[in-house]
């Protein structure tokens, strides 16, 4: 066994079968089962140490919420959640995430120009540095308006980028919208071609996720308010942008997001066309758009 046997040179046809993938699958599931056992052993400890047991109880919750439940969800959702487009993004644990409620046409640079002109701030990627800044800004109370958003997946890919707007003086609340480029030639159900799909929701508070017990943002149930806010800001700041609403596109896609928050929508999918937005708007937006 060596690196060379594992890694066929790029360009070779992908193999149908890989013992390595099966082995990985076994380890993936075995680790999940072992983690359940570990959580149980830690919980047992919390009974043995008196008041000090509280520490073990917190450790138990950490293991359960951040290791065990995500892994179990990952294993189970691989089996039961379809991997094709169903109008919903998925969380990194495979759970159904925010609903896709916006579509865009236009180049990436035009999209950036339009969003920036509309007073939106691009979110940083999740890195060690940005994570540290979140902690620091939470402790010191300073604002961090480029704070990263959690990864959500569509077409098996994390969002390409995300934009957000802070709510004055409240780190628990924010507007945010994630963007995914659609695969080449991909059509929406019903046959319409769009360049980008987006999911916009409003974080209203911080709370516990229903499914993983992790601390997370809770989103506002009426996702149409946020959708219309995004459309209104983009149209307001970009006279060249146009909108075309696909009525009742996702009437059936409601219920809950990945954190267990209920969501409801009238089902309209606005398709914003920003392909006529002049790129000069990027420079114009910088002084005025940084509100």
């Amino acid at each position: 066994m060596g690196d060379t046997s594992e890694a066929p040179p790029a360009g070779r046809r992908p193999r149908r079968f890989s013992a390595n993938a099966l082995l990985d699958g076994f380890f993936f599931i075995y680790a999940g089962i072992a983690a359940v056992w570990l959580a149980w052993l830690i919980l047992e400890q919390s009974f043995d140490w008196g008041w000090f047991g509280l520490v073990f109880f917190v450790a138990f919750w950490l293991v359960l919420a951040y290791l065990v439940l995500p892994r179990l969800h990952r294993i189970l959702t691989t089996i039961y959640v379809p991997d094709y487009f169903i109008g919903r993004a998925r969380t990194s644990d495979g759970l159904l995430g925010d609903p896709v409620n916006l579509a865009f046409d236009g180049d990436e640079v035009q999209l950036h120009a339009a969003m920036r002109a509309a007073g939106w701030t691009r979110a940083d990627d999740v890195t060690v540095a940005s994570s540290w800044r979140i902690v620091a800004s939470t402790v010191t109370g300073r604002s961090y308006d480029e704070a990263p958003v959690s990864p959500l997946f569509l077409f098996g890919r994390q969002q390409d980028f995300a934009y957000q707007q802070e709510v004055e003086g409240n780190p628990a609340k924010r507007h945010h919208v994630r963007f995914w480029r659609t695969p080449d030639g991909w059509l929406l159900p019903g046959g319409r071609r769009v360049g980008w799909l987006a999911a916009g929701t409003f974080d209203r508070a911080v709370g516990f996720s229903l499914f993983t017990l992790q601390i997370t943002h809770k989103i506002d149930a009426d996702i149409d308010v946020e959708r219309d806010h995004i459309v209104a800001t983009v149209l307001g700041a970009n006279p060249q942008a146009t909108v075309d609403v696909l009525d009742d596109f996702s009437t059936g896609y409601h219920s809950r997001n990945g954190g267990g928050d209920s969501i409801s929508t009238d089902g309209g999918l606005p398709v914003l066309d920003v392909s006529e937005v002049p790129l000069a708007a990027i420079d114009e937006a910088r002084p005025g758009g940084a509100s």
Binding site: A10, P14, A21, A31, A35, L67
Partner: protein, 169 residues
């Protein structure tokens, strides 16, 4: 495109190798964390060896019923035994440390080997715990078992797998 799509997703999909991420992929936290955990496992091993050396006499008498009564030959023998155990343990730990580095640099075979040994160790503990009467508490083997399970969780995660299988060159 030709032919109809099957109405169900084939279980064979589970055995299909995942897409190979580009060589430029950044090292995910899971890989770095997994390597750090292997290092912690080595540290736990060093502590265990030191404890064994310090309590060598009690261990011989208590666990094996060997009593050394001023017998010079027996004393030499027991010292040799200790040196052999320490040397053997040291070699094993050194190899483990090399594996930690390889895992950190994204070697797939090192990752799978480490997971294999973690799995064996976890299974061993589980058999002892569920089949025998071994107690697993903080005072006995909970720390090493927890490290093994965390190593397995970290290195079997999708990010760690993708990083170890990324394209090279």
């Amino acid at each position: 495109m030709s032919g109809k799509r099957p109405a169900y997703e084939s279980p064979g999909d589970l055995a299909r190798p995942p897409d190979r991420p580009p060589a430029s992929m950044r090292r995910p936290a899971a890989t770095a964390f997994g390597a750090v955990l292997v290092v912690l496992r080595v540290v736990a091993g060093v502590v265990w060896l030191i404890a064994l050396a310090v309590q060598w006499r009690q261990v011989l008498e208590g666990d094996f019923g060997v009593v050394l009564e001023g017998d010079v030959d027996a004393q030499t023998l027991s010292d040799t035994g200790l040196v052999v155990i320490l040397a053997g343990g040291g070699v094993v730990l050194a190899v483990e440390l090399v594996f930690a580095v390889l895992v950190y640099r994204g070697s797939n075979w090192a990752r799978i080997t480490v997971m294999l040994f973690a799995t064996i160790s976890i299974t061993w503990s589980a058999v002892d715990y569920f089949g025998g009467d071994a107690e697993i508490t903080l005072r006995t083997t909970l720390v090493t078992l927890a490290l093994d399970i965390l190593v397995l969780l970290a290195l079997s995660s999708r990010n760690a797998r993708a990083y170890a299988r990324r394209g090279r060159g």
